[in-house]
Symmetry: C3
Subunit: 135 residues, 3 copies
Amino acid sequence: MVEQLHVNTRGQGLYEFTDQVEALVRQAKVESGLCTVFVQHTSASLCIQENADPSARYDLEEWITRFAPENDPAFTHTAEGPDDMPAHIKATVTDCSLSIPIFESKLGLGTWQGIYLWEHRHRSHRRSILVHIGS
Amino acid sequence: MVEQLHVNTRGQGLYEFTDQVEALVRQAKVESGLCTVFVQHTSASLCIQENADPSARYDLEEWITRFAPENDPAFTHTAEGPDDMPAHIKATVTDCSLSIPIFESKLGLGTWQGIYLWEHRHRSHRRSILVHIGS
Amino acid sequence: MVEQLHVNTRGQGLYEFTDQVEALVRQAKVESGLCTVFVQHTSASLCIQENADPSARYDLEEWITRFAPENDPAFTHTAEGPDDMPAHIKATVTDCSLSIPIFESKLGLGTWQGIYLWEHRHRSHRRSILVHIGS
């Protein structure tokens, strides 16, 4: 089973969509299997991170902004704006696919794990994600 | 088939558990398939790296310590100790899931590849990992 | 189905092999499924990045060279040459496995996504990749 879902973003940051993935897992009625999430973009990515304290996400965003700053004089790929090349670098060091086992009919996430779409562009986007569920 | 396994850690570093995954692959008796390893934590991660010369792992640990140092004045998520936010950053740039094809009834690792749990906290932990094997 | 394919490299950089993976997906005649690509090396890695403007790949290579420079005085793993330890670090922050859903009989890549082998060594290599296709 493959389904496409969407996450609407309003600027850089982490957007949780664990509930959308869990709903598909419940629909699939698989007791034991594998759920794979894939983002169809190169300037947004995926991340499994702490879903408890929002300060962890705040610090991750601050850190990644400093890690791949805009207006690096070495950049030549600048036609799509100053946030485009940093977005590709940020997507490269994070994830474009994640595979999570389904265990006892549930997504096998740890207690503090949530699934996030990481938006790396300033503008609002409608991001497309494919979800595969297999046995 | 989904199984849970554990890796006990005694501080930061890379802990190999290839043999535990290979034992599950042998049990599963799959000639051709896919083995997915998933870590259920956000302050430990997974890594496939060189299993020959231990100096490569030593240098990786030295490098990642400098890459995400403790006590960054920008951090706000500090309630769980100075090693917590660096642990989240280290987990973000490494892997939380890995998928390895099973080829001719064996895990398709290259000659020098081992599977490691990367512990990013100072304290000892019992880390949980889910392993899915499918055809 | 698991197949092995090869990518010949001539020094550091991104080598696209999307067409080789797509050919295997067509052969497999799977309408809905999952395609997993795995690199059997620790000094080369995988990356899904923009396949339109080559300047994005040029900048990624420039960036990663500065990110993990050669001759870091902290390195102890130097027996295999100055490009070896940086290669392990670069492989660690990028991907060794990628899973892409197969949707409507096609690899579910976004419009601008291509699959690349990222060579991190100076010398020419013949890199081995395993591709698993499941339903």
